[in-house]
């Protein structure tokens, strides 16, 4: 076991010039990537730009066909893949999903579910969860193992806009509390950038990298996402005017509790996400 107090120096995962090839085609090439303890690294890029492939190579789900991938010894990975479909015929409660890859103590499980904001769904069958609830359940499952490295492949898919912000804030809180490294994939930079330390922009290769502010300004990013992306995007700080209660009701800013609530997000604020 590696017991180092100066964990910041030792990268959790380090890719050097890594590439993955499938069916005679390079899915992604020449990727250099490092994630350290307490760091949030975000991969962005269009569909088919090799984000998921890069992440899978980083954690050893697929082997790189060129370059090297080094992981810290006995690295504990918590992984939320892009697409998880569970056959309806498999009876699986959230609680059982939590214990999928290893036994757990009751307290640990409750803490993780609470941290993910779905403590009230512990007994629910996973097939009955909404998209956002299911993502939170997967996040809780990855969290409960107390991973050194948390890997999230588009964790906000199927989540509405305000839920998206809340999930990213949750991810940052996890980092702040546990000190783990986080490798994140996202479609859109502007929502994640407030929570991110390093951004790597992929399109079959690394286009640009740096702090979110620098990447937003870089010509490669603008070329990839269109000229409009650069100037309309600002770091999005969301102020919640209400809190969702476990029973589905809503507590408004003035402290009253309502059955429903009305969002007045501007038209078109929610961008469309394509799965895959």
């Amino acid at each position: 076991m590696l017991q180092s107090t100066a964990g910041d120096a030792e990268p959790l995962v380090e890719m050097k010039n890594a590439g993955v090839r499938r069916g005679g085609r390079w899915l992604v090439r020449g990727v250099d990537l490092t994630v350290r303890r307490g760091e949030i690294v975000t991969l962005i890029g269009p569909n088919g730009s090799g984000k998921s492939t890069t992440v899978k190579a980083a954690i050893g789900v697929t082997a790189p066909d060129e370059g090297t991938v080094r992981r810290a010894p006995a690295l504990k990975v918590g992984y939320v893949p892009q697409k998880v479909t569970i056959d309806w015929t498999l009876p699986l409660s959230v609680e059982r999903l939590m214990r999928l890859t290893g036994p757990l103590e009751r307290g640990e499980m409750e803490d993780a579910l609470k941290a993910a904001g779905i403590a009230h769904l512990a007994g629910a069958e996973v097939q009955t969860l909404s998209g956002g609830e299911f993502q939170r359940a997967l996040l809780a499952r990855a969290l409960v193992r107390k991973p050194d490295l948390l890997v999230l492949d588009e964790p906000v898919q199927g989540v509405d806009f305000s839920g998206e912000i809340a999930l990213y804030q949750l991810i940052r809180e996890i980092r702040d509390r546990t000190g783990c490294g986080i490798l994140l994939i996202s479609h859109d930079l502007h929502v994640v950038m407030a929570e991110t330390d390093t951004v790597i922009c992929l399109n079959g290769h690394v286009c640009c990298r740096g702090t979110p502010e620098n990447v937003l300004k870089s010509p490669e990013y603008v070329r990839l996402f269109g000229a409009r992306a650069g100037d309309t995007l600002a770091i999005y700080h969301h102020h919640h005017d209400h809190t969702h209660l476990p029973d589905g009701r809503v507590r408004l800013a003035d402290g009253t509790v309502a059955e429903h609530h009305v969002h007045d997000h501007p038209e078109g604020a929610k961008e469309k996400h394509d799965a895959g």
């Binding site: 069916g23 899978k56 954690i59 050893g60 789900v61 990975v77 918590g78 992984y79 893949p81 998880v84 569970i86 056959d87 309806w88 015929t89 498999l90 009876p91 699986l92 409660s93 059982r96 999903l97 999928l100 890859t101 290893g102 069958e125 097939q127 009955t128 193992r145 890997v151």
Partner: protein
């Protein structure tokens, strides 16, 4: 007690049902029904080869069923044809090859019907020993494999990332399938083995809240099907293997009947 052929059949059938229940659940969860069918069909080729090389029948079936599954995995990786088409090719060509080979071997007389549809009323004490011994072994390995296999069933990538080696779990599961096909062939026959894997598991779904609960429910449903099917076979003089499958089907249909005030059954509800 085992002197009576009917008692022997009952004991053998119950032993088999207990074993295939949990295995069948994985076949259903992993959507491997056609895959299991293909492995079972290849068993006839195993029978033919076992006669040709004069080796133990069960060993021949086990080896060929394993080879068929390995061949399929290999062809899948090549990616030239869809899995569906590959399964169709492998399934029927191995069955046809077996039938043709058996026809060429004019020096031996083979009870084809017995292999295709089973002959549970002819089980010997040795067969019963194989069923219980082999069954215990299969269930033991499955219990040991349970966590990685279930994790791989939910999501291969999670299992891989968290160090559970899903590829290995899948391969061992294939070996268990091949073993159970070799054991079950004599009882329900090659053409009906998959039904014994799938129908009790499907019938058990309704009554289970956990994967483990569904495995037990599938085993119990299988036992009920064997007892019901064999009794009916004795009373109405119907073929035993198909009678067991019909009994399992009746159980499955009963499980679809909508009970008042049950949650989460909406997706299958309309078929009842």
């Amino acid at each position: 007690m085992l002197d009576d052929f009917f008692t022997r059949a009952m004991v053998a059938g119950i032993g088999l049902a207990l074993t295939v229940g949990p295995l069948g659940c994985f076949v259903v969860w992993r959507r491997m029904a056609y895959f299991g069918d293909t492995m079972a069909h290849s068993a006839l080729l195993g029978v033919a080869l076992a006669f040709l090389f004069q080796i133990n029948l069960m060993a021949g079936v086990f080896i060929v069923a394993t080879l068929a599954s390995v061949a399929l995995l290999f062809l899948q990786r090549r990616g030239a044809l869809s899995t569906d088409a590959l399964l169709g090719i492998l399934s029927h060509s191995t069955l046809a090859l077996g039938l043709v080979m058996v026809a060429f071997m004019s020096w031996i007389r083979i009870d084809l019907m017995g292999f295709l549809f089973g002959d549970i009323l002819a089980v010997s004490r040795f067969d019963i020993a194989m069923i219980y011994g082999g069954g215990a072994l299969v269930l033991g390995v499955l219990a040991w494999l349970w966590r990685p296999l279930l994790a791989a069933t939910v999501n291969t990538e999670i299992a891989e990332a968290e160090g559970l080696r899903p590829e290995r779990a899948r391969f061992i599961f294939m070996l268990l399938m091949a073993a159970i096909i070799a054991i079950a062939m004599k009882i329900v026959g090659i053409l009906l083995i998959t039904s014994l894997l799938i129908i009790p598991a499907a019938a058990g779904r309704r009554f289970a809240a956990t994967p483990e609960g569904m495995a037990i429910a599938a085993s119990l449903a299988g036992v009920l099907a064997v007892v019901g099917g064999l009794s009916a076979s004795l009373n109405f003089d119907t073929p035993s293997g198909p009678s067991i499958v019909v009994a399992a089907l009746v159980l499955f249909l009963l499980s679809l009947v909508r009970l008042p005030e049950r949650r989460g059954t909406g997706q299958t509800g309309e078929t009842s």
